[in-house]
Amino acid sequence: MMVLIGKTSIDFIGKRYMFFAVSALLIAAGAASMAVKGLNLGLDFTGGTLLQVRFEQKVTTAQVREAMTKAGLETSIQSFTDRNAYQIKIKGTQEKVNEMSEKIMAGFAASFPGNAFTEEKRDYVGPVVGRDLAKKALFAFILSLFGIIVYVAFRFANPVWGAAGVLALLHDVFIAAGALSITNREIDLVIVAALLTIAGYSINDTIVIFDRMRENLRVFPKMPLGQLVNTSVNETLSRTLLTNLTVLAVVSILFVFGGEVINNFAFCMLVGSICGTYSTIAIATPLVYQWAKKGK
């Protein structure tokens, strides 16, 4: 029988203040970055025009930038070097649907004569649409959190557990968003899907340990809560590591080999899956303990 880790008896609860400090640090870093740099919100939320073209002959980002400046356009440029493609974005313009794209194309035609390019992607998002998408996504997300709290409260006979699970989930989503801000990656609707995946993953992980706690509460009703939490986390530790390492491996492969289109998505998942595991052990269960102690 192959065993990754044997029986452990790590005192997780005793280390809880260290965990809280680490989390606070991560959250603070993310919050600071969001405050200073902000989130790089994509067109899906700001509204605007995006045009992606692929050139036949090699051009550099600097050349593309120069071409856009010459055309009198204020743009942000993202390069997909492996395919010699460039994404030009103009956020929040009120102009008619096609006008902006035409201007960009004209700019390229003027600056790169003889270098043919094909249009790969063209997006226009009206400002109202962007706000609506963000609003709806947020509304749905918040409602689903309430759903989770209610269900967990019902199944585990304690609303605190559900709240702790949701806090751990928010912790993960926030750190992932912070990481996106620090690395200056753009947040679009696919990233929203990634954040939702992280949320789902985090709560799944938490519930499994809660389940073990519930079982141990039945078997050892006299055991002090701190010891009970530690036993439960240790008993499920090999499962936690196994599942999460498997997922981590898959996500890492997506991140490295998945191509530039899903790179931001994979990055977000990578951060989120690490957080999801960590927060279950370091946030959700210690929070339950802390809460229960305070109540006494």
Partner: protein, 477 residues
Amino acid sequence: MNKLHWKIGTVLGLLILSFWLLYPSVEWYSKTNDERAKTEAMRMRPKRILNLGLDLRGGTHLLLELDVEKLDKKEKLGDAMARAIEIIRNRVDQYGVGETPISRQGERWISVDLPGISNTEEAENLIGKTALLEFRLVNTSDAAQAVLSKVDLMSEPPFNKKGELLPEVAKIMPKHTILCKAAPGAEGERARYYVLEATVPVTGAYLEGARVETDQQFGTPNIGFTFNKEGGRLFENFTGANVNKYLAIVLDSVVHSAPVIKSRIGGGSGVIEGSFTMEEARNLAIILRAGALPAPVTIIEKRVVGPGLGEDSIKKGLSAAGIGFILVIAFMLVYYRAGGFVADIALALNFVFLAACMAYFGATLTLPGIAGIILSLAMAIDANVLILERMREELALAKPVAMVIPVSYDKAWSAILDSNVTTWIAAIFLFQFGSGPVKGFAVTLTIGLLVGMFTSVFVTRALYEFWLTSNPKELSI
């Protein structure tokens, strides 16, 4: 037959059903692009197949907003939206681009997904035109002439950005008239305007048909139209009463021609002349046949994904996912041996069942949808790991194998159920209240969780029980 036979039979039956459901999808996607396009144009596309979203296959997504303020006050918003969607569907169908999901979004938005159209401008013209055809008399009074000469002297168009008449022009307009622009003539020519009577005796609502006709003299394309019975009678009476006056043919507030009425026009047909290209004439005829929109629409969102980009992202993403999948399968085999083998079979079945379910519902796979699948697969693996770890715990207590299996499943069940239901509740909310991509994520997640619970609990247990009938003593995990 005992209970185990039933279980194995159920799994095998579902597997056969899945292959049967998946067959049309496999057949469809093994065709060449041209063959698919041809079948789509004939509207012979199979219904119950797995669809690829525009982000994966390329295409144009449009979001239109109905200008509610210009709606007839008597018409209810819901009715107007339904009519607008119907008319857009008619136009797109006649254009022949195949399966085009058109749906209402929010209060007054309409979403249109055009697969694989490369010439988006043409599609936009086809969908975005109001196509309100009106016949109005031209006002040729002196007051009207004065308006036209004033407009001629102005350096800018007489309308502001909202399309309203500038006040200095509005105040000299004759009573019960409107100012309309003429269709642009040759390049460099000044824009021309007409003063028209406000009353509209006949509109395009009475049209029965419209088609492209070629001018006998110049060979330029025109649009011939025929009225229905009532429209024909109205038109005949109207022209009869206004002989020697000018009749303006106005389409979407633009005057296309204004011929003199030489005599009463019977027979209920006519021709719109103008400087159309063949393409424009063809599209106009389609639009006129399909009818006018209840109010103008504006494009508030537009996404075009070139077919190359979609294919590229599929290829890269699929190969990475493939590597990841193989890695997981190999790891499970090495780590849990027989148990891993059972889990791997469950995982493979999970894929087949999930794809079959999606094909049956005709669901559309998008990038966010793939995220939902990844999450559901991760949770299915997790369920297997939970069960297998329990088995190891129970085996370590030196319990007999035949007892280990039911005990492990019983103990693991509550964790699997609760974690799945929790995620499932979240998915339901996201499906109900989210839009677009959030919904796409929720759909695959919901189906994936249900399928995952089935394969990782029911299927694996049946497999273990089957294994135990021949090897009741040993279980290598």
